[in-house]
């Protein structure tokens, strides 16, 4: 589809616009938070322990969402933690997309032993729940942001590789690729000029849709203490910390939970919107 057509469809997709606007807003808030944050996200101030949200009493000047069990400002931790979560998810999605793209292309285009091996590796990885494998690996390697990215990448590339593989296989069997092969055009040219452009949309869609899952897995791992190491804030860990005080100070848990939901929702919207826009099956 032409660029003009693409932009027109993009403008028409409500899901896409809502998703994109939501993500941009959240990302801006999180990444620009050092400019306006009034509190230290890691320094505890016991006098403020489990302070109630001051949204109504003091407005934006006070502890808007209250303080946690160690007297740290919930909003500041939320924004800084969001930055970490987004960065982790973004790195993982980039890495998994690249790995998945290369492996999927090779397996789908050349088939044979390569394909057979890839599919077996996929089967093996799929026989273990992502979270289970991830926490086992972190348990062995130790918890750190880098290790978190590595672990989520190891488990995450399979999705992309499978999507790319099946798309490439369909294209590989089409008449025009056969014609190109018969004409003696070298494989690398066929891959880059004919095959690659066709897998771009499914890859972008899959990657966007994977974002939400990544963020949720990261939160679960941080909750279990195998994600972002303390005292750096992360949403999963914030929820975990607030657990004990849920009866007396529910905001400590509710705030990061809602933030988590909004981010994942925004990414899912964006993914579905892109699917509507890019999938040639969906006519407007």
């Amino acid at each position: 589809m032409s660029r003009k057509d693409f932009i027109r469809r993009m403008r028409k997709s409500k899901l896409f616009i809502i998703g994109l606007a939501g993500i941009l807003a959240i990302a801006l808030l999180c990444f620009l938070s050092p400019l306006f944050a009034q509190f230290n996200p890691t320094k505890s101030e016991l006098s403020n322990r489990l302070l109630e949200p001051e949204w109504f009493s003091k407005g934006l000047g006070g502890h808007v969402f209250g303080c946690d069990s160690m007297g740290r400002d919930v909003l500041t931790r939320l924004l800084i933690g969001g930055r970490t979560s987004l960065l982790i998810a973004f790195s993982v999605v980039i890495i998994t997309t690249l790995i998945g793209l290369v492996i999927g292309l090779l397996a789908g285009y050349y088939g044979g032993v390569m394909d057979l091996m890839l599919m077996r590796v996929c089967d093996i990885m799929m026989a273990l729940p992502t979270l289970l494998l991830a926490i086992c690996v972190v348990a062995v390697m130790g918890a750190s942001v880098t290790n978190l990215v590595v672990v989520l990448s190891i488990t995450g590339w399979i999705m992309v590789a499978r999507v790319v593989r099946s798309t490439v296989m369909t294209i590989r069997n089409s008449e025009y690729i056969k014609a190109a092969i018969v004409l003696g055009i070298p494989n690398y040219k066929i891959i880059f000029k004919e095959v690659l452009p066709n897998v771009v949309s499914p890859v972008i869609i899959t990657a966007t849709q994977a974002f939400g899952g990544m963020i949720l897995t990261e939160a679960s791992m941080s909750f279990l203490g195998l994600g972002v190491p303390a005292p750096a804030p992360s949403w999963g860990a914030m929820i975990s910390d607030g657990r004990e005080y849920i009866a007396t100070a529910p905001w400590v848990v509710i705030v990061p939970g809602i933030a988590l939901m909004l981010v994942v929702l925004a990414f899912n919207f964006l993914g579905d919107g892109l699917n509507d826009i890019m999938n040639p099956k969906n006519k407007d």
């Binding site: 077996r120 590796v121 089967d123 093996i124 799929m126 026989a127 273990l128 729940p129 992502t130 979270l131 289970l132 494998l133 926490i135 086992c136 690996v137 348990a139 062995v140 939400g212 949720l216 897995t217 939160a219 679960s220 909750f223 279990l224 203490g225 195998l226 999963g236 929820i239 975990s240 607030g242 657990r243 849920i246 009866a247 529910p250 848990v253 509710i254 990061p256 939970g257 988590l260 939901m261 909004l262 994942v264 929702l265 899912n268 919207f269």
Partner: protein
């Protein structure tokens, strides 16, 4: 047919073989000497050396692997030093607990999501559809951790209906089951809605209606069987997500299932137990996927067993 079944069995064995390698490598990479862990803290150097010898830790890795594989084939899943009991018995007991909440959760999820998804698809664009879609979208975006705590906040803290954690009466099972099934429920609702919309546009549905079959029967009997197919396809892969979810959920509700056992095993660095859990989980996943494939061939005869 026989050839296809044999092929399928061979593939399954390859997968399990691969999983044992992953499990083995993970444990060998893990910090700490298994022999030291097996012994009390007061053990002497000599005792440790003896233990290493007895456990075969002085052999080359490849021999160790085959020893481990041999034990597995004999049904020996190793010994958990943390729980001081046989891994096999331990895992089995916990597995039953996980199965309880998972099965109940999935059943509740299906009871809710199947009618909801179908109605949303049939009554596309109405208030019911909007509500169902909103529910499904939010449900999929919710972290299981947060969902559990939210439920506790509502049902235990607020309404005081249900206990926050532990085992005992049926009341203890309500929240864990609901939490396990929740994201599955929203997924099925959403998928069923969209596949129902697709199926209802098919000519064979109009053709069935043209034969005088009432709308209701067409929806419930004829469209449903087509619309459920994509959900059957993904249900095998969903089991992984369900089990992953149960790890956090069991942790929160202190439910003595496989998920909680895994977390305990990892935090107490009981890697022998972790290793066995990985293998058992893989076996369950593989078997369930096999079951799903068989089920699929029964519903849709176009797909031959492969």
């Amino acid at each position: 047919m026989l050839k296809k079944i044999l092929r399928r069995v061979a593939l399954t064995l390859i997968v399990l073989f691969g999983v044992t390698i992953i499990a083995f490598v993970l444990v060998r990479l893990s910090p700490g000497d298994p022999a030291v862990q097996m012994l009390p803290a007061t053990a002497t150097e000599e005792q440790i050396l003896n233990m290493r010898e007895r456990m075969g830790l002085n052999e080359p890795y490849i021999i160790q692997y085959f020893m481990y594989l041999g034990n597995l084939l004999k049904g020996d899943l190793g010994f958990s030093f943390h729980f001081n009991m046989d891994c096999g018995a331990l895992i089995l007991a916990r597995l039953i607990n996980t199965a309880k909440i998972t099965i109940i959760g999935v059943l509740i999820a299906l009871i809710i999501s199947i009618p909801l998804g179908m109605i949303a698809g049939i009554k596309r664009g109405t208030a019911v559809d909007t509500a169902a879609t909103a529910f499904a979208l939010c449900g999929q975006a919710m972290s299981p951790v947060w969902l559990c705590l939210l439920m506790i906040l509502i049902f235990s803290v607020g309404l005081k209906w249900l206990p926050t954690q532990g085992v005992g009466t049926w009341k203890h099972m309500v929240m864990p089951s609901l939490c396990v099934g929740f994201s599955f429920c929203s997924l099925v609702t959403r998928m069923l809605r969209s596949s129902m919309i697709d199926v209802l546009q098919e000519e064979y549905i109009t053709a069935t209606r043209a034969r005088g079959i009432s709308k209701f029967v067409v929806y419930v009997k004829y469209a449903f069987k087509n619309a459920i197919l994509p959900i059957v396809t993904i249900s095998g892969a969903q089991l992984g997500l369900l089990l992953a979810g149960s790890m956090v959920i069991e942790q929160i509700f202190n439910w003595p299932g496989l998920g909680q056992l895994t977390v305990t095993a990892i935090s107490s660095r009981d890697f022998q137990l972790v290793q066995s859990i990985l293998v058992v989980v893989a076996i369950i996943m593989v078997l369930c996927n096999l079951l799903v494939d068989i089920l699929y061939t029964f519903i849709d005869k176009r797909v031959s067993f492969n």
